[in-house]
């Protein structure tokens, strides 16, 4: 968004619907989608109910809650949302009693949707009405753009129906109707959106990075006591040997070139030969037969290690 021109609806659409999608990028409001959006009908109802709740709450927050203390504001968002949802549920029960979607509790929980508190606090109480209104509409559109395809897809795969009508699907997977199926579908949607942003709008890719806090400290070679760190002599010996190998045969050189440590799966594996000997005194010895220098972590920890914010934090600490 350029600072020289007015904030337009297309800007809001680009930012709040696409780049900062409330569900896929900000990971907010997942509860209803994962638990209830198992059919297209339910998904449309939830999306429709979310529009008035978010728009009215955000506009009210922008107009009246800027000078109210923060701890009261959040409670007021909840009250406004509850009032609107109560009206919607009453209207459905009165005028459309035939609709039995089994989403009552989650429809009521829409009032406490985290997207509402997030956008009101982050934007509505800090900007003008135009900005807040456009953002609320665009955010609700972003929510609908996710929940409706997710509901349709889960209904098709899990029940072989769409809007209640039977369709021909080669195989039905009822597991997709369970919450973990919802998470899986959302994860693939999020990955697709991220890939699209990275490809088409690389300048915005940094904004879509999920910030994950590192949960555990893993003992690495850097943290090991000095007497456990690989000796310089050993390093030099290994380097010298590699040089000798490279000089002796071209084939070896080619093999080494072909191995890209970042992409090659096998780069972290050591040969299995000669691994049969084992001494029970090694129970406390460093297990250096395995993949990398993260000795005590699982794959989850390695995923956390790769979080960019953690790297940046380390750099900051190093600078300090």
């Amino acid at each position: 968004m350029s600072s020289g021109r007015k904030y337009s609806f297309s800007d809001a659409l680009f930012s709040s619907t696409f780049i900062h999608n409330p569900v896929l990028i900000q990971a907010a409001g997942l509860c209803a989608i994962v638990a209830v959006a198992t059919t297209l009908k339910t998904a449309v109802l939830l999306a429709a109910a979310f529009f008035p709740v978010l728009i009215i709450t955000q506009v009210f927050a922008c107009l009246a809650l800027k000078r109210v203390p923060r701890w009261i504001r959040v409670a007021i968002y909840l009250l406004i949302g509850t009032a609107i949802i109560a009206g919607i549920i009453y209207a459905i029960d009165t005028f459309m009693p035939e609709i039995s979607l089994g989403a009552d509790i989650y429809l009521a929980l829409t009032a406490a949707n985290s997207i509402i508190a997030l956008h009101c606090e982050k934007l509505a109480v800090k900007t003008d009405l135009r900005h807040a209104f456009f953002d609320s509409v665009a955010t609700a559109l972003g929510y609908a753009a996710v929940i409706i395809p997710v509901g349709a897809l889960r209904e098709m795969i899990g029940s072989s129906t769409i809007w209640g009508a039977n369709i021909k699907v080669p195989m039905t997977y009822p597991a997709i109707l369970m919450p973990f199926g919802g998470f899986l579908v959302l994860a693939f949607f999020a990955a697709a959106l991220k890939a699209l942003i990275n490809k088409r709008f690389p300048e915005h890719s940094a904004e879509t990075e999920m910030k994950i806090k590192k949960t555990s400290v893993i003992v690495s070679k850097k943290n090991l006591p000095e007497n456990l760190a690989p000796a310089e002599e050993e390093k030099e010996t290994a380097e010298a040997e590699e040089t000798v190998e490279a000089e002796e045969t071209v084939e070896v050189e080619e093999t080494v070139e072909a191995e890209d440590p970042k992409e090659d799966d096998l780069a972290h594996f050591e040969p299995l030969d000669g691994e049969g000997k084992f001494d029970l005194s090694d129970i406390f010895a460093k297990d250096d037969e395995d993949e990398d220098d993260k000795d005590y972590g699982s794959a989850f920890n390695r995923l956390f290690d790769e979080a960019k914010d953690f790297d940046s934090d380390e750099k900051k600490e190093g600078d300090k």
Partner: protein
């Protein structure tokens, strides 16, 4: 640790011919070892089920490899990821966990889910936070429990007679003491009971365990931790009115407990690396698997137990950190390193 070239380096400083040959070859993946270990239960399954076993195994392997190849091609990534044999292992393991008469589409669906959902999104095999084969089996169990637990009667000539609820795991979960007692210990150990294709024969699985000990001995700590806890719980809390030894034997032989303990708990991607931590990890997995056995909906929920272990291990890891477990490990490592140096100095050679 010295690699092959270092160990086989001649005195004149040049690299030996055989060592060079070894060096050119790509390093072996740990999953090669696992495939070797799977050979024992595969042979037993062939003995009991004949061509059906080969059909299931081939279907699993081909499905997993094909799905991974297609996915890598679509994602424009190098196909050399296939050479780590992880896809082969995943397809193989899924086939071994299903009934011999499982339809081809069922095996293919499990392998496809394992590769597409539990492996490919996370990159190489060692970065997957869950064991893909366990994820595939859990998916199949949730979606198609009837097909997954529909075991053929092993003494039937054409395997078209289905003994519903006759597997040891089903009998245990239903408290069917009469059937379990009629099976006999030898049948239980040799796998001569209705059940998954490659998980019933405890003798073959112990052979796989011996291969594991020969190839990567430290991974045995995972199995030890797992089996210790499972055995203790089976002895202390027997299901039904069994004697405690029978309860122990039946729990270990039933379902995929032993198989998962050997092949999934030791998975190099998700397991910690230190021997003592490996033992704790295995014990944690054992507790969760046994809890699911006692209170789970399905007759065999070991795959869910493995997935839950993968999911909750970071929390256990952080709890261990709070009690300064890793500091203790570091000190122990420092001490053992000092001892090694002293030994090496006494011998006059280089430290190993």
């Amino acid at each position: 640790m010295q690699n092959f070239c270092q160990r086989n380096k001649p005195a004149n400083g040049k690299v030996g011919f055989m060592a060079r040959f070894k060096r050119i070859k790509a390093p072996k993946s740990p999953y090669m070892n696992y495939l070797l270990m799977l050979a024992a239960p595969a042979i037993v399954s062939w003995y009991y089920y004949g061509a059906l076993a080969f059909r299931a195994i081939l279907t699993g392997i081909i499905s997993a490899v094909a799905v991974e190849a297609v996915a890598l091609l679509i994602m424009k990534r190098k196909l050399n990821c296939l050479s780590d044999m992880h896809a082969v292992f995943t397809g193989f393991a899924i086939a071994m966990l299903l009934p011999a008469t499982a339809p081809i589409w069922l095996i293919g669906a499990g392998a496809a889910f394992a590769i597409l959902v539990a492996k490919i999104p996370f990159g190489p095999a060692h970065k997957a936070p869950f064991v893909p084969a366990a994820a595939g089996m859990a998916f199949l169990t949730v979606c198609f429990p009837d097909e997954v637990f529909k075991y053929p009667a092993i003494d039937s000539a054409s395997f078209d007679v289905f003994d519903a609820g006759s597997s040891l795991a089903a009998q245990l979960s239903a408290g069917g003491i009469q059937h379990v007692n009629s099976v006999g210990i030898m049948s239980m150990i040799s796998g001569n009971v209705a059940g998954p294709l490659g998980t019933c024969c405890a003798v073959a699985l112990l052979g796989s365990c011996a291969l594991l000990a020969a190839g990567k001995p430290k991974r045995l700590f995972n199995v030890l931790g797992f089996l210790t806890v499972c055995s203790l719980l089976a002895v202390i809390f027997p299901r039904g009115s069994f004697s405690r030894p029978v309860s122990l034997l039946t729990e270990l032989c039933a379902g995929s407990l032993l198989f998962s303990g050997i092949f999934f708990v030791t998975d190099p991607g998700t397991s910690p690396k230190h021997p003592l931590t490996r033992f704790i990890y295995g014990a944690f997995a054992g507790i969760i698997c046994m809890i699911l056995r006692y209170f789970g909906t399905f007759e065999d929920g070991t795959c869910f137990g493995i997935l839950l272990t993968n999911a909750f291990w970071p929390i256990v890891d952080s709890a261990l950190r709070k009690i300064d477990y890793y500091k203790f490990i570091e000190k122990s490592m420092a001490k053992s390193a000092e001892k090694r140096k002293q030994k090496a100095a006494l011998k006059g050679g280089e430290p190993a």
